[in-house]
Symmetry: C2
């Protein structure tokens, strides 16, 4: 029996709608819309697309989305000065600096400079630590989106065996922390892991976040497992000169074994921006001592 397809695109649309409602209600109470500042340095084409999409989605959710596009040769001090201004601006609830940054800028220094209470990307070390010890903070958007899909699909995750493939700071490590906080038994696998197929075959939940196209095969999976595919890899398409997007999971073989699986595209991808909007609204609520709306 083929796996259920987890509709990340639909879930993200629902979340965005709930954020829009919450933003409107908050605006009625505090007299302004939640504000997100997105900063782009340079002209990386992919980053330009992401930043444009983030700004647009923010405004569509009834929030104040401002894009700052700085030239590629921007010095670190200028960027830090902009961050300081945004930190001090009471109308800005969230600050996101699009990565990667040009070589003359130390990305860590920039992340460190963002007010942790406006760090809606959840990359600041203080927020990483807050997640680690169970304090309120911000969680990176992609893994939080994955967790939302998992909970919607499975309900209680307590006691389930979960394998996270990949140990990046942006996805793998925070994903493991989130699953642990839900009382799953969590294994973090990576390039040095010896027998990844055997590890995956024991898991009720597999989250693949390695950036290797079609790596996880159907025969690596336990029948009925839930598979979350974070990978977005562009590979050669069937016709010459064409490309297509695939995940880290070999969808065709995996869906024959899994119980439920996210597709690529329209799986995890749309969740990232939806959670960014969610985090921005949460930030605005916290900063004004307002309750966080249900369903976020």
């Amino acid at each position: 029996m083929a796996a259920r397809i987890i509709d990340g695109h639909g879930f993200a649309a629902g979340l965005r709608a709930r954020v829009a409602e919450g933003a409107e209600a908050l605006k009625a109470r505090i007299g302004r819309a939640p504000g997100l500042a997105v900063v782009l340095v340079g002209e990386d084409p992919a980053s330009q697309v992401y930043v444009g999409a983030k700004g647009k989605a923010t405004r569509e959710a009834g929030m104040a989305g401002t894009e700052y596009r700085l030239p590629a040769e921007t010095e670190q001090d200028s960027l830090l000065a902009l961050i300081a201004r945004l930190n001090a601006d009471p109308a800005v609830d969230g600050i996101l600096v699009q990565l990667p940054l040009p070589a003359q800028i130390d990305a860590q220094a920039v992340i460190d400079a963002i007010d942790p209470d406006k760090d809606v990307d959840g990359f600041h070390a203080l927020n990483v630590g807050r997640l680690g010890i169970g304090l309120d903070g911000f969680v990176p958007c992609t893994p939080l989106g994955c967790l939302m899909l998992l909970k919607a699909e499975l309900g209680d995750l307590s006691g389930l065996d979960a394998v996270v493939i990949g140990r990046s700071n942006i996805v793998g490590k925070p994903m493991a922390q989130l699953l642990l906080a839900e009382s799953a038994t969590v294994t973090i696998a990576h390039s040095r892991t010896r027998d990844l197929p055997a590890l995956c075959r024991r898991a009720d939940i597999v989250v693949a976040a390695v950036g290797r196209p079609l790596m996880v095969k159907g025969d690596w999976l336990k029948p009925g497992a839930t598979v979350i595919d974070v990978g977005i890899n562009r590979v050669a398409g069937a016709e010459p000169g064409k490309t297509r997007l695939v995940g880290d999971v070999d969808f065709d073989s995996a869906r024959a074994v899994a119980g439920a699986i996210t597709p690529v595209p329209r799986g995890v991808g749309p969740m990232t921006i939806a959670v960014l909007l969610r985090n921005t609204l949460v930030s605005a609520c916290r900063r004004h001592g307002q309750p966080i709306p249900a369903g976020l």
Copy 2:
């Protein structure tokens, strides 16, 4: 064949000697000994013993160990005022507040108030985050001590399967982060884990940190596994009215299967204070821009 006994007591003595040498050399360069302030609120008997032992070990390593003993009814504001003074004192390189604290004091607020660059216990959220993303910071003493023993026993941990039993903020979670940074494949198990014996039987490294006496049995282990027992549990002894200390591992059955194992006592226990001294010296070196001595 019986397991090798990992001599934590001897390893800790060696580490303390290296710290003492490093402290003396640093003093010659900066004109003062590294300083550790240990704060105790109330009269919990176990805490009094720990604080006394920490102060004494600090002074034995040639460092300036100062103990602050405050009455049980101390208000949070008074404790925070002391922390602020210690944060500002240039002769203090490390600040440790002994836990638990009396009920009228919010332990998290106290930990948050310690300058992260003097947080030699590694409990501040910023240090938890730094460990999580691979930045320099302070790592909690007990898991760092466990890692030192593991590396001394096994050398390179890359690709080894490690199971950490227990997910406390003080031991289990930082232990998992440290093992992951050494490129082990790490599983974090806990009270909700379904088949802990089977999980342990697959592991090259088992770290037990749950506080349940004699829980891990020999037949839970893969032959030749390395076992680190963080538990220190007082149980009834053989003679009436007597007690004895045991670990979370059933030492007698485990040593018949394991390749190497820490005893209780004289295993992990002595490492905690030795690493506290190490962290204090490291703090003093960093704060004065001095290199960190080798072998720490």
